[in-house]
Amino acid sequence: MSVRQSLLAILDQGPCYGYQLRAEFDRRTGSTWPLNVGQIYNTLDRLERDGLVEKGEVDEQGHVYWEITDSGRDEVRAWLSSPVARSQGTRDELAIKLAVAATLPGVDVTQVIQTQRLASLKQLQELNRAKYAGANPDGPEELAWSLVVDSMIFTAEAEVRWLDHTEQRLALHPRHAMALELSTEKPKRGRPVKTEQEVSA
């Protein structure tokens, strides 16, 4: 929901019309998250419905200036003062892939890790180059953009560190100790049959 709150936070700086709001969002995020004007107006409609913004003055060109309400200001303060909740659970594709690969006899997990590491490093190289090529690193717009790039750089770095860690942990185990052959116990379809103990309980 951060688009909604980001737009609201920008409106907290002063009234804007839709297209202007899009430009402000772009320039503060280095165009790394392009929004179309339709998304902006949809979001403004919802914000208006929820009483967080209202339509204000209309200029000579017919631009409608949206203004933040007091409830809107409260929402901005609440957003800025609360942490962002990351998605829960381990539905990470890479983590699942490595966990499964580590248990497959005959699969060279080290190679799986190395393939991923090269891909992550390549991404890091590209991000560094993008940052290196950026002009005037101290300008506010360049800074805003490079903050987004930094976030991607540190995420990619964390992945490489985790891969290093995984590789070292796996190296501590003889390869066969990790292998899980197919279990001879075949799970039954449907719910497990209750044992006598469970039935009597």
Partner: protein
């Protein structure tokens, strides 16, 4: 492309017979002018040994090291010393500046040791310090400089007088992340101006400043990233 450094079949063994340990086994590596190569690998993989051998600080058990056309195995001690003074620059994690010398004196020391006249040395030293953004700090002593500034002095010393091969061992290890990034940018720009370099690091973020990343495991090169064009992920979206 001009090879500034070549390692051909370099092996480094410690001890003999059954108890011998191989720190490096059959390493082939070429570093071209304008190229920065990062060496990554776990502790004990041979990264630092490789750097010592590339810089002529250590002789390999077998194999050949060629720096700008000079074969280190047949070079005399005097030639080696001269090569280190004229062609090679070292950058270490802990800066290794001499505390009783000013920034400028630290940078000009290798030139003066090489017999260059004091005035010419100072001119080259001032140029090198200016190129790393320290033109206001010629007379400062290391203790008066921040960690990032000290490392920039060390980089200036490594490139002064047209040195063409920079060997850096964890140069950002003692610096915070913002200062470390500034130092890496500085190193990268020196390479882009025509030097060549090897960067030993365990941090992926810094290794990614290199054109090519080489992985060492148990003394062998197991993999390396391909060198490719400067296309950027984000350039298109800007």
């Amino acid at each position: 492309m001009t090879a500034v450094l070549q390692l051909v079949g370099v092996t480094q063994q410690y001890g003999e017979g059954a108890t011998s340990v191989s720190a490096l086994s059959g390493v082939d590596l070429t570093v071209e002018k304008g190229e920065l190569v990062a060496i990554m690998g776990a502790s004990g993989s041979g990264k630092s040994t490789l750097l010592s051998i590339a810089g002529g600080l250590q002789k390999p058990t077998t194999g050949e090291v060629i720096v700008e056309g000079t074969y280190l195995s047949t070079a005399s001690a005097r030639d080696l010393a001269q090569l280190r003074r004229r062609s090679l620059g070292f950058v270490f994690q802990d800066f290794n500046l001499i505390p009783t010398l000013t920034a400028l004196e630290n940078v000009t020391l290798p030139l003066e040791l090489d017999g260059l006249a004091a005035r010419a040395s100072r001119r080259a030293g001032r140029d090198a310090l200016t190129s790393v953004g320290l033109d206001a700090k010629f007379g400062a002593y290391p203790d008066d400089l921040s960690g990032g500034q000290q490392q920039r002095v060390a980089i200036a010393r490594a490139v002064v007088g047209g040195r063409r091969l920079i060997l850096a061992d964890e140069p950002t290890g003692a610096l915070d992340s913002v200062t470390g990034e500034a130092v890496m940018k500085m190193l990268r720009s020196r390479i882009d101006q025509g030097a060549a370099g090897i960067l030993v690091t365990h941090e992926a973020r810094h290794a990614a400043w290199a054109d090519r990343i080489v992985f060492l495991r148990d003394g062998r090169i197991v993999d390396q990233s391909q060198r490719d064009g400067a296309e950027t992920l984000l350039a298109a979206s800007r």
